[in-house]
């Protein structure tokens, strides 16, 4: 999963060693092919539904694609690249390309769970830089709310999943997997339930202005820690929502981006990295973001302090704290103190995050939060976030996702983007 330079055969691939972050200056390194500035996000659309019992999943994908095309000012026949993940129904891209009547010359169905759509932005930029396509469509949609999905049920991936026999009997669901991460973080660093709660409090402050958000009530730290315990130490309000819906993005060549009427959002740096149990050397204190952050920042030629807005994957409150540390917004172990006292609230704190209300309050379509992370970052860079949460003159934003399970195995993906 080399992120930035897979089309440089025979040359040193600065992002291919997952144990050593890319050296600063990757952007200018003539021996690597950087995607910095080679592609733009020109269309973004979040489906307004949060419950869709009367629609099919394929229909939701197509409605999202239509919305993103309309946003970009492009037509279906302009699309020559298509990207989707495991939420795409049937045979993934085969079914969806046929359903939508697309004629792409480049297809990618990388599935890294909820981070897939950040990886797709990276892959679309790579494909565009390599001349494989000019206008890439990325779609996500699902109906977990209508279908009764829950974060307390263990998922069965079948006998061929190599880890399944060793985990399924123990009831590894989503909530208790992240509960184990939170428990260890508290043990190692003294992180408190109140500090975790601040992440939800900040998200709720943003969600109050989003009329489509599932949870619009502003909550307090006390509300969170007095909500029912789900998987200790995580309470109900430490968990994201379960919602139907979806979203779509259009990524295009620079010349196309500049010909459109929307503010151009340039992709500057990307990173993706898996992290698992490492053959039993389990360490739940860090995530794939510890690898992707340095790679993406090096490619973009910026540092965490330069980021004005961050979309941070928020399946649970603990997810945000671990990733903020790993991305370098604070030191390892200080995430709890970093998020406390409203530091993530737009207009109040140092790092405005998830100004749509995030997965914690707004939307977590298909149980996959990566798409909406990119969409809200694009809104911020265009100056189209809600006025109450818009970061003034927002020029540089980061979106990061974690797909899979922080408690077992996952893939992190980071995208750094800039308004031109």
């Amino acid at each position: 999963m080399a992120a930035a330079c897979e089309n440089a055969p025979g040359r040193r691939m600065s992002t291919s060693d997952s144990n050593s972050p890319a050296a600063p200056g990757t952007r200018e390194n003539a021996n690597t092919m950087s995607i910095n500035g080679r592609a733009y996000i020109v269309g973004a659309y979040e489906h307004p539904t949060r419950k869709a019992p009367d629609k099919s999943v394929a229909q939701l994908h197509a409605e999202c694609a239509r919305g993103a095309l309309q946003d970009a000012g492009l037509a279906k026949n302009d699309i020559d690249g298509y990207f989707c993940a495991g939420d795409a129904p049937g045979l993934g891209p085969m079914s969806m390309v046929d359903y939508m009547g697309l004629r792409p010359r480049h297809i990618d169905s990388t599935d890294t769970g909820g981070s897939s759509y950040l990886a797709h932005v990276a892959h679309a930029a790579q494909a565009i830089a390599a001349g494989k396509c000019s206008v890439a469509l990325i779609t996500l949609a699902g109906r977990p709310r209508s279908e009764g999905s829950s974060g307390t049920q263990a998922r069965n991936y079948g006998a061929n999943a190599p880890d399944m026999a060793y985990e399924f009997p123990y009831g590894m669901a989503t909530a208790n997997g992240y509960g184990m991460v939170a428990m260890r973080h508290m043990h190692e660093y003294g992180t408190t339930a109140e500090q975790l709660a601040w992440v939800k409090v900040a998200a709720s402050h943003h969600a109050q202005y989003n009329e489509l958000a599932m949870l619009r009530d502003v909550v307090t730290v006390e509300d969170v820690i007095h909500s029912p315990l789900i998987a200790d130490p995580l309470h109900r309000l430490d968990c994201c929502v379960v919602s139907d819906g979806g979203g779509a993005l259009i990524v295009a060549r620079p010349e196309i981006a500049r010909s459109l009427k929307r503010p151009p959002v340039r992709i500057r740096g990307v990173g993706e990295a898996p992290k698992g149990q490492m053959g039993g050397r389990v360490d739940l204190t860090y995530s794939g973001a510890a690898i992707t952050g340095p790679i993406a920042f090096a490619e973009a030629g910026v540092k965490p302090a330069d980021i004005q807005y961050a979309s941070i994957y928020d399946s649970f409150t603990i997810t945000v704290i671990v990733q903020l540390e790993d991305l370098g917004f604070c030191r390892k172990g200080e995430g709890g103190r970093f998020v406390a006292d409203g530091n993530l609230i737009s207009g109040v704190g140092r790092l405005p995050f998830n100004t749509d209300g995030g997965g914690l309050c707004n939307n977590h379509p298909a149980n996959r939060g990566g798409m909406t992370k990119v969409i809200e970052a694009v809104r911020q860079l265009r100056g189209e976030a809600h006025p109450k949460v818009q970061v003034p003159d927002c020029r540089l934003a980061l979106a990061h996702g974690t797909g899979g399970q922080l408690g077992s195995r996952h893939v992190g993906a980071t995208v750094i983007m800039e308004r031109e």
Binding site: F168, R184, M278, V282
Partner: protein, 131 residues
Amino acid sequence: MSTTERIIPAPITNPENQEYFDACARDVLLVGKCQACGEHHFYPRRVCPHCFSDDVKWVPAKGGGTIYTYSTMHRGVPVPYTIAYVTLDEGVSMMTNIVDFTPGTLAIGQRVNVVFKAAEDGTKVPMFKPA
């Protein structure tokens, strides 16, 4: 915990891992040990995840360890249960359940010993209880 016993889902086995569960039936916990690099690994594989040698033996663990982390699922399930990673004395950590303990007494770093419990189909799986 609860007076009601949790029904343990049966492990979903395949040809590679059947030996592990055959050992569990004899109350033996196996871990992978690479004969090339000497490192243990878990869950056991036929190819070492560290050095990639295929000269791997599955060897009995001593059965003791410490709790690396844990979380009790309280809601959305018929019976609360506690998932955990236990770091075995062999140095590898494994996902498991902690059982047969007094609620409120668990702690990270606590010593535990393996105990084998029957899943719903009768297959025994390794769990841990306080030492």
